[in-house]
Symmetry: C2
Subunit: 157 residues, 2 copies
């Protein structure tokens, strides 16, 4: 498994920017903490240092996307967001990671992408508007990712 | 197959905003024409009107992503972009479609997302800087999507 010195997604340590909620031998799932306007924001980070989805084998790609979809399903079932946004960009950190973001019609940027122009101020803070506490979602995601049978490549399929 | 009146991605007709380069019974691939600063910009549009990736069956999801990856591979092999950006947002048009965008370190917004803040002016026009003509990429994508054996769910895997 390739690791690159100086890559913040290769570093094993924690970060103030996110909290890890689940992990297996190929990937980690973290909840983003440094974008409080978008509290329903998870990332699926591939462990191996590859830049692009097409660098993965077909089996690894299926596994990676099955976890992205599992996170998406937990967000939809628990929070009923207006829309899910999925993105693998990596222009700043070219180490494969997926943003999985629950978007709401009241959020600060909707319907613009979170990287676009702000549309409104949101008070009270966004996290307080969610239907369920985020630690409940974290636990549901952990169970889905960590309690599968080994080799069961697709979850929630 | 669900179709929704007024959804621009359900409409079968053409558009000045894109040119269709490939199609099969489940999806279409178009090249975006109305974002000239990002000429290496394709979309994979699912035919059925579903909002989210997790609305697809596992087989359909694999097929959809295999075409996303095929487009990504053609972009990488022909244009050697600095990075590929993948995104399924749909806040404006909640009908599943994937943006597959070749990004370059000289482009107008790099390393920001295309939806973010402009970083520089680019002259001469971006399309003239690509290594290969876009109609060559269109044809390669068409061959990959349209000449597979029926039922062969994964291309370029």
């Amino acid at each position: 498994m390739a690791h690159v010195a100086g890559c913040e997604l290769c570093a094993a340590g924690g970060s103030a920017a996110w909290t890890e909620v689940a992990a297996d031998d190929r990937l980690r799932v973290v909840r983003v903490l440094d974008a409080p306007e978008f509290p329903a924001f998870y990332r699926v980070i591939w462990r191996d240092h590859v830049a692009e989805l097409s660098d993965l084998s077909e089996a690894d790609r299926a596994h990676c996307l099955s976890v992205v979809v599992a996170v998406e399903r937990v967000l939809r079932e628990q929070l009923a967001p207006t829309k899910i946004n999925l993105a693998a960009l990596g222009n700043m950190v070219p180490h494969l990671h997926w943003h999985v973001i629950g978007r709401f019609d009241w959020d600060s940027h909707f319907p613009q992408p979170i990287w676009g122009a702000r549309q409104r101020e949101v008070l009270p803070p966004a996290a307080g508007r969610l239907r369920q506490p985020l630690n409940k979602l974290d636990e549901l995601i952990r169970q889905l990712v960590e309690t599968r049978s080994p080799g069961f490549g697709s979850i929630g399929g």
